[in-house]
Structure formats: structure tokens, C-alpha cells
């Protein structure tokens, strides 16, 4: 019965600070921006062709890549601050088998990351749906398409949080962990494309478009899901290994 109570403690840790509410506020702003783009945005020729088809609207609403970046920062902060505030000490005193404590923490941030991704996507869809009546176009995306968007953002949010959590465990410093997440999700992908163009399909942005159903990459959806999971699990495993081996100082 240790596992559920450790996860419950970690979920309470997250919910009793302003961190998730801050990210929720950002999601509301992002959704508002999407709605504004629908109402006031135009293509280069002044038309609104960017919302003229179901696929266009689904592409506009696809939030998974943003969700992964956002929750990457969330996970990095949530784990690294434990070391900054020393709250990792009572955590490891409560559960001296550190891998169990860290796995519980990773589980909690993955759950919350997935939830943030889901809520973020729902807000974006709601904002776009609410803004479309102010244009000449209706809401064209199918129910399946909407479900796929929601599922993709949930998966991306969970993966991003776990990736960030792994970096937080490795770096153990909020500033450093956030920087590492930004470097990994923003700076490394374009460099990889420059050096290895074949690898472009396996970078988070492309994978998230596949999972959201708005890309025609050769990667299948199951392969894209697995690849996104690998992007998350590898840093998490390295972080777990580092925590097991290091002293808590």
C-alpha cells in the first residue's frame, strides 16, 4: 500500500503550491490568443483560408507540441525545486528507497502534465469554437478529430512533464533544469535537422503532429507514441539513476 500513498503525497505537493495554477493561467492566455487569431488573423492575402477546412482548423487547434514544451518546464520546476527547498530530504526520510519516492514523484507529475495538456487542448478547442461564429466559417473538425487532438495533447503533456522531471532530477537546480528543458526541446531539434535531416521525423514537434493527426509523416501513430515516450523515459531514467547514486547534500 506504500505506492498509492506516496503518489497521493506527491499530488498534494503539486496541488498545494501555485505552480499548477500558474501553468493553468498560461493555458488560458494561450487559448485566448488562439481565439483572437481566429477572429482577427488573416493569411498573407487577407483571406481566412487558414480556417477554411477541417484539417486547417485541426492544425490550428493542435496543441500537443506546445503542451510538451509547457509541461516540460512544469516537470523541470516541480522536481528541481524539491532540491532547492530541501523538501527532498523529508521525502527520502519518509521513503528511503529513493527509486520508489522518485517514481512516485514522476508518476504524479506525469498525471498532472497529462491533465494540463488535456485542459490546454480543451481550452484551445473551446476558444476556437467560440471564435469561429465571428467569421464566415463554422466548426468543421469532426468529433474523432477533436478526440484525437485531446488524446494527443494529453499524451504530449504527460511525456513533456516526465521529460522535464528527469531533467530536474539530473540538474537539481530550477534555473539549470528549465534551461536544459529549453535547450532539449527548442534548440537541439533544429540543430539535429541541420545535421541529420532523416531524424526530423523523430523530433517531438513532428511526432506530436503525427499523433494529433495533422501531419502526413511516414511515422505511424503507434511509433510516434512510442518515440514520444522514449523522449520522456530516457531523461527520467537518467535522473532516477543519478538520484540513486548521489548523496543528498
Amino acid at each position: 500500500m506504500t505506492w498509492p500513498r506516496l503518489v497521493r503525497a506527491e499530488l498534494r505537493k503539486i496541488s498545494t503550491t501555485k505552480l499548477p495554477w500558474g501553468f493553468l493561467a498560461v493555458l488560458i492566455v494561450v487559448a485566448g490568443l488562439n481565439g483572437s487569431v481566429v477572429i482577427w488573423g488573416t493569411d498573407m492575402d487577407g483571406s481566412k483560408t487558414f480556417i477554411s477546412t477541417a484539417l486547417d482548423q485541426q492544425s490550428l487547434m493542435a496543441f500537443a507540441a506546445n503542451a510538451m514544451i509547457g509541461t516540460g518546464l512544469f516537470g523541470a520546476i516541480a522536481v528541481a525545486r524539491e532540491f532547492g527547498h530541501n523538501t527532498v530530504v523529508p521525502t527520502f526520510l519518509t521513503c528511503p528507497r529513493r527509486y520508489r519516492a522518485v517514481l512516485a514523484q514522476f508518476t504524479a507529475i506525469t498525471i498532472v502534465g497529462g491533465l494540463l495538456g488535456l485542459v490546454g487542448e480543451a481550452l484551445v478547442i473551446g476558444a476556437v469554437a467560440g471564435a469561429l461564429p465571428f467569421t464566415d466559417y463554422g466548426f468543421l473538425a469532426s468529433a474523432d478529430g477533436v478526440l484525437q487532438l485531446l488524446a494527443a495533447s494529453t499524451w504530449a503533456g504527460a511525456a513533456g512533464a516526465l521529460l522535464g522531471g528527469g531533467l530536474g532530477a539530473l540538474v537539481r537546480n530550477v534555473g539549470g533544469a528549465v534551461t536544459a528543458a529549453v535547450v532539449l526541446l527548442f534548440i537541439v531539434p533544429p540543430l539535429v535537422v541541420q545535421l541529420l535531416s532523416d531524424a526530423a521525423s523523430w523530433l517531438p514537434d513532428a511526432l506530436n503532429r503525427v499523433v494529433a493527426g495533422v501531419a502526413t509523416d511516414p511515422v505511424s501513430v503507434p511509433a510516434a507514441l512510442a518515440a514520444l515516450a522514449a523522449w520522456a523515459v530516457i531523461p527520467a531514467a537518467l535522473g532516477l539513476l543519478a538520484i540513486e547514486r548521489r548523496d543528498v547534500v
Binding site: M1, T2, R5, L6, R8, A9, R12, K13, T16, T17, K18, R81, H85, N86, T87, V88, V89, P90, T91, F92, L93, T94, C95, P96, R97, D247, V248, V249
Partner: protein, 310 residues
């Protein structure tokens, strides 16, 4: 009953040895003070005991079991180390998180908030707490699982006099009930009131350990007109003699009867022979090598000398 045991514990960070070949036992039913100057290795020793740091050699155990192997650590050992809380979280939620992780009912949190006098501050963010209130929060966390062992690093820091008195009463009661209480403190006067035994570290090494009242009675004042001759005689007999003045020695390591007998055999007159109880502060300075600095004589003629046992 949970004894805390350190056996040949050595810890290095790079080339720096923080703790070296440390062996001692902390007994249940007693309050044991853990003393040493800053950097002596006390915090590192605590961390090794609690499996927050790994020893390079040797091991530490609680009731014969390593901390990480305890079946229910929160209900076995209560710990207060450095402040560990999120400044944006309330004291009540801090304790609830610990209770969740340990499987302790949340009503215990409310009981402890009352016990440590945190009732009014419990729903404020911990970042707004004064040092004393933070300390009370840390004590509440240590007591959450009602553990038989308490390991507390500077628990009196920042507490007001009534708080210190409450803390002393609490720790004494825990020890009287058979608990093991291991407390580090820089407040030597407080340790003198509180501790039954002390463990003293200096530069990572064990300096002394034992019953505090025995250690405090370790010195015997000897009045004699022949301090130099008597010092040599007593040193040959296995004692340690400090020259206090031209007519007085402070002798350790020999019983009072043997000092008298040795002086009589050597034909050295004695004008006084009395046990001396040293203050813990004086003893601490001596144990940690600060006695020369503190008592540094102003002229060469007044130089204090010591003859070590051969």
C-alpha cells in the same frame, strides 16, 4: 529498544575527509548531546545515519538496521535536519504531505500543530514564518509518526525561552519513556541541562563520548608547592596534568586516591586535593582544541604547559 551505532564510519568528499573512523553508540533511555564546532562532521554523521549520504567505509545503524531497511521509517525515527519546506506551502499542508507519504491519519497533523503551538500559523505560508516557528514546524514533522527515536539537529535554534523549556521537557519525557534522543546543539548551557551523555567530534574525529556528569568530574585540583615535580610523577603514572598556577595542577585520568598516594611516595607535599566540576563550555573548548586560543597567556612566564601521558 533502538540503539544508534556508528562503526568505523569514514566519509570523504574528494580529498577532504569529513568524518574519519567514527565509532560510538547512542543508547535508548538517554538524551545524548552531539557536540562539535562548525565543520566537525555532525551533519554529515546524521546524513550517513539516515542514508541521505553514503559512507566510504563503515556503517551506521538504528537498532541494528540500516535506515533504508527500516520497515516503517517515519514511525521509527523522527528527524529534524536543516529547514526543509516550500515557502509557498502552508505549515498544515507541509505536514499533511508527510502524513500522506507515511500513511499517518491527517487528524494527527492537527494534534501536532496544537502540541508544538503552531495552531495560529498553520494556515500561513511557511515562507512567512520566523525562525522559531519554522523550528516548531520541523519538530512537528519529527514527531508526526510518534517515533521511539529522535535525531534532531539544533532543535533549540530560534526558540524563545518557553519554547526551549517545552523542548527540554519533551525530550526528557521521550528519553524517560525509553526513547533514544540524539541531539546536536551549539547551545552548550542547554545541552548541559538536557543531555545525559555526550558525543564530541572535532575535525571529523571522535574526541570523547560518555556520561556527561562523569566527564565533567574528570578533573582534580591539586595544590602543591612542587607543581613541576608532581606533574612528572603523575604523568608517569598515566595521568594528564595541566598547570593552573605556580601552586596548582589540574589532573585528569587518575583517581583522587592514586594522586595522593603518588605524591606521598614521591615525598611531595600536598596542600589541597579536590575534585573539580568543569562547565561544559570549558570542557568543550578543551576537547575541541580551543583552550590554548581562549586562554592564551600574555607573557612567556605565564605559559601554560601540559605533559602528555607517555
Amino acid at each position: 529498544m533502538h540503539e544508534l551505532t556508528f562503526e568505523n564510519v569514514t566519509k570523504r568528499y574528494g580529498k577532504h575527509t569529513v568524518v574519519e573512523d567514527l565509532s560510538f553508540t547512542v543508547h535508548p533511555g538517554r538524551v545524548t548531546g552531539f557536540l562539535g564546532p562548525n565543520g566537525a562532521g555532525k551533519s554529515t554523521s546524521f546524513k550517513i545515519l539516515l542514508d541521505l549520504a553514503s559512507a566510504d567505509r563503515g556503517h551506521a545503524a538504528i537498532g541494528g538496521t540500516r535506515y533504508r531497511d527500516l520497515r516503517d521509517p517515519s514511525r521509527t525515527v523522527g528527524v529534524l535536519l536543516e529547514h526543509a519546506y516550500h515557502p509557498g506551502r502552508t505549515g498544515r499542508n507541509h505536514l499533511r504531505i508527510l502524513a500522506d507519504g507515511s500513511g499517518i491519519p491527517l487528524r494527527r497533523v492537527d494534534q501536532l500543530l496544537e502540541l508544538v503551538g503552531l495552531g495560529d500559523a498553520a494556515d500561513r505560508h511557511a515562507g512567512t514564518y520566523s525562525l522559531g516557528v519554522r523550528q516548531r514546524l520541523g519538530l512537528a514533522a519529527a514527531l508526526l509518526g510518534d517515533p521511539p527515536v529522535l535525531v534532531l539537529d539544533e532543535p533549540g535554534n530560534g526558540l524563545d525561552p518557553p519554547g526551549i523549556r517545552d523542548l527540554r521537557d519533551l525530550l526528557r519525557a521521550r528519553a524517560a519513556a525509553g526513547g533514544t534522543v540524539f541531539v546536536s546543539s551549539h547551545l552548550l548551557a542547554e545541552v548541559e541541562h538536557l543531555a545525559d551523555e555526550v558525543v564530541v567530534l572535532n575535525r571529523g574525529r571522535l574526541v570523547t563520548t560518555g556520561n556527561l556528569s562523569d566527564l565533567q568530574q574528570a578533573g582534580i585540583s591539586v595544590q602543591t608547592p612542587a607543581v613541576e615535580r608532581l606533574a612528572i610523577v603523575l604523568t608517569d603514572a598515566g595521568g594528564t596534568a595541566h598547570r593552573v598556577s605556580d601552586r596548582e595542577l589540574l589532573v585528569r585520568g587518575l583517581p583522587i586516591e592514586q594522586i595522593g598516594d603518588q605524591a606521598c611516595t614521591a615525598g611531595i607535599p600536598l596542600h589541597g586535593l579536590a575534585p573539580q566540576i568543569g562547565s561544559l563550555e570549558d570542557l568543550f573548548m578543551e576537547w575541541t582544541g580551543d583552550v590554548e586560543r581562549r586562554d592564551a597567556p600574555s607573557t612567556p612566564e605565564e605559559t601554560e604547559w601540559e605533559v602528555s601521558p607517555r
